[in-house]
């Protein structure tokens, strides 16, 4: 379970998160929607400790992410994250990209890591690209590779930050399908997205982010289908 309790976060004078609270249960898919600059990416990075917080707490399965005593590198093994920019490691082949962390972070043998990587890459439909370098892949393929790379750590949680925003429209579908597959397998996911149909179909709950706060949260039929707050309705109008 991810417990976010009254998290505050500023960049200099700009307060980006103004007291955010939310929990994500095991097996749940929560989509986060909201305008540009409302703090969605920042929130995701506070969940796995890539950004420090100023006040509040983030607790993952009982471990306080931002506590001094927490071994953050160990915790991150269990929380996969995929970014908007694909972030492939350009000097490694697709297979090596996915094998690297299992080998060097989890200490698996080359054979074990290769088996895991091959399995995850097949899962996202990249079995025939193992020896290619990322520069040879399309954006959609690179993004699926990034998903496989995170999955290779066998995480309990997956965070997605607008993973389809930088893709050509015809490549969006293949990445969304991969995420649908993960959710149907029971993966716990927090998904920042502008894809309202995806949010509606796949999420258990949708959180609408507005000016550094969760303005509305609930099942997709409510937040997207029948928003209770005028700001939510305005936002939905603007993205349609």
């Amino acid at each position: 379970m991810i417990e976010i309790e009254d998290v505050h976060k500023s960049f200099g004078a700009l307060e980006v998160l103004k007291g955010v609270s939310m929990t994500v249960a095991r097996g749940e898919v929560v989509s986060v929607i909201g305008g540009s600059g409302s703090g969605k990416s920042t929130l995701l990075m506070c969940i796995n400790g890539l950004e420090p917080i100023d006040a509040g707490r983030v607790v993952v399965d009982g471990v306080d992410v931002h506590a001094r005593a927490t071994d953050i590198n160990r915790l991150r093994r269990r929380i996969g994250i995929v970014f908007q920019q694909w972030n492939a490691f350009p000097h490694l082949t697709v297979l090596e990209n996915v094998m690297l962390a299992p080998r060097k972070v989890l200490g698996k043998s080359r054979a074990e890591a290769e088996a895991i990587a091959t399995d995850r890459l097949s899962h996202v439909g990249l079995k025939d690209k193992l020896v290619a370098y990322p520069s040879r892949l399309s954006g959609g393929q690179q993004q699926r590779m990034a998903i496989a790379r995170a999955l290779a750590m066998s995480p309990d949680y997956m965070l997605f930050d607008e993973v389809t925003s930088a893709l050509d429209p015809q490549l969006v579908g293949e990445v969304l399908d991969t995420m649908r597959m993960l959710s149907s397998e029971g993966m716990t996911m927090v998904v920042v997205t502008h894809e309202m149909r995806f949010a509606r179909d796949v999420s258990d709950r949708v959180a609408f982010f507005h000016r550094g706060r969760i303005h509305e949260i609930g099942p997709p039929e409510q937040v997207i289908g029948n928003p209770q707050r005028p700001e939510t309705a305005d936002f939905l109008k603007s993205v349609r």
Binding site: L50, I79, F83, Q85, P134, S135
Partner: protein
């Protein structure tokens, strides 16, 4: 013009001159390797948080890049002598060129580090890598590729700089050997044009070798 060319004496001492080439390449390679090691340290020192280290690195880089290489070699050879540290001409020349190399390479490395998107480190850290591990596995290999040709160029410049060894009495490198025979025979034009051709060949050979190595090394 009443100067007649005599090439034979030059070709008779070709073995000695080629041996000089080896010494030249050796000094260039050594001073590049030392320069790379110090250059990485200077680049990290300049960008790191420690103020004293940043000031020291900046002073080194500014001095190294904005004063004549000849003076830097002089300072090592004669200057350090005033402090009781006497290096022979081989060591002084190598150290002087290494000093110069380090200051140029430091800036090359700093630029190279900046050219790698910070998102690469972020992606590595998010997979559970510690900062040093992420630097070694993700940053360093990419940095190496970015600075590869600048490093090769610095090594070629080092080859040419070794000729300054003449001024500190080095007589085993190509310039030294050439000068040795020059003063014996005063066939200045012949000796120095052949030596120049040899320097040219060394530089070209290095560039070619580096291309082949790069082709093997960088597959992406």
């Amino acid at each position: 013009m009443n100067y007649s060319f005599h090439w034979r004496p030059v070709f008779q001492v070709m073995p000695e001159m080629l041996a000089g080439c080896l010494v030249t390449v050796e000094i260039a390679a050594l001073s590049t390797v030392i320069g790379v090691a110090i250059g990485v340290a200077l680049a990290l020192g300049r960008t790191g948080g420690n103020r004293a280290a940043a000031a020291f690195a900046l002073a080194w880089i500014e001095f190294g890049r904005n004063t004549p290489g000849l003076f830097q070699i002089y300072l090592v050879y004669f200057g350090l002598g005033s402090f009781g540290l006497h290096l022979n001409s081989y060591a002084a020349l190598t150290a002087g060129i290494a000093f110069n190399n380090a200051s140029y390479l430091a800036e090359t490395f700093r630029g190279g580090l900046r050219a790698i998107p910070s998102t690469q480190t972020r992606a590595a850290r998010s997979l559970g890598m510690s900062a040093p591990l992420a630097f070694r596995l993700i940053m360093l290999p990419q940095l190496f590729r970015i600075v590869y040709y600048p490093m090769v160029n610095q090594m070629i410049l080092s080859v040419l700089m070794t000729a300054l060894g003449l001024t500190v009495g080095l007589d085993t490198d190509l310039a030294g050997v050439t000068q040795h025979f020059n003063v014996l025979t005063y066939r200045t034009f012949e000796y120095f044009s052949v030596a120049a051709a040899l320097y040219y060949l060394i530089a070209k050979a290095m560039m070619l070798t580096s291309r082949v190595v790069a082709w093997r090394l960088f597959r992406y």
